[in-house]
Symmetry: C2
Subunit: 187 residues, 2 copies
């Protein structure tokens, strides 16, 4: 048995289940097609609320364990009421959480036990773009930086390799760095 | 006075404050530089928790009205415990909330009173990428679709123009469609 074929549960990851899923999808590739959904409702001003409840994938429809709801808003310095983080802060959360899930799964699959992992994610944005004050400044982040602090029963180089493999397989990292087609329609 | 110079509070938007902010930043462009932050901590398996508390901008440091905290996880069908939405679902939330905040601000600035706005956001993803089962399939979403249902005291064409202007000035739309540099470091 090598580190990459470890099959014990570890780090709270059901490693046998993970490999079972990969094998099942490998033999039935149509199970890999997923569709995720969210509904956002305007509340007042820049305050809105999103609910996340259902998704489709693995050949069927699924309902989350609960209906998740999230408020977003602008802070007062940006003329909002601060009922929630800004949408761009949720992007940082999505990126950090995606890389973290990958680190946990990959560590477990490689037989590495983690003791502590934390990331800080920060993004620089110049509001001259979204305020319409400059045509040269983009609307979105100019750069995002993620810093990992990771501890486990493996040498630093192995832990770095795990982070690198997570980056290589991260859905959110892919979308943020390579972009994606977004179609907007008014019904 | 034209519709585009409307200065009354509307839709819960402090329109005078909004134009005051735009004018202030126009005369002091360094106020436009913002840095947003999030901290993500691993909990167990694919479950992690992000806190969002502080940001920098408008020439100073700011603390949100409260420390916001969000769980993310994978659902059981993806070998998680469903303690929160997946990171890619938070991307849909960020996009919907960003477009919605823009719609509210732009409507108010144009003198349009909104009565109801809702979006559904959905994204298609093929997991053959992140599961490492295909080198041809990307890790992230293949397409994202946003559908607006918007009602207010303006003709449908005006409401469509407001949605289009929001798209044109959306930070999250920009990042998702054009991509952004993401630097990952292990401390």
């Amino acid at each position: 048995m090598t580190a990459t074929t470890e099959r014990m549960p570890r780090n709270g990851v059901d490693v046998p289940g993970l490999f079972g899923t990969i094998n099942a999808v490998g033999s039935q590739p149509e199970l890999a097609e997923f569709r995720f959904r969210a509904t956002n409702r305007w509340v007042a001003g820049t305050h809105s609320r999103t609910t996340i409840e259902k998704f489709t994938g693995a050949g069927g429809d699924h309902v989350h364990a609960q209906t998740f709801a999230y408020d977003a808003d602008h802070p007062e310095v940006l003329v909002g009421k601060d009922h929630g983080p800004t949408p761009v802060e949720f992007l940082l959360h999505a990126l950090g959480a995606c890389l973290m899930a990958g680190v946990a799964n990959i560590s477990a699959a490689r037989g590495v036990t983690l003791t502590s992992v934390q990331t800080t994610i920060e993004g620089d944005i110049n509001l001259l773009g979204i305020l319409g004050l400059s045509e040269e400044v983009r609307n979105g982040y100019q750069q995002i930086r993620v810093t990992f602090r990771i501890e486990g029963d493996a040498p630093p180089e192995t832990l770095r390799d795990i982070v690198e493999q997570s980056r290589t397989r991260s859905a959110v990292y892919d979308v943020l760095t390579n972009g994606v087609d977004v179609a907007i329609e008014v019904a």
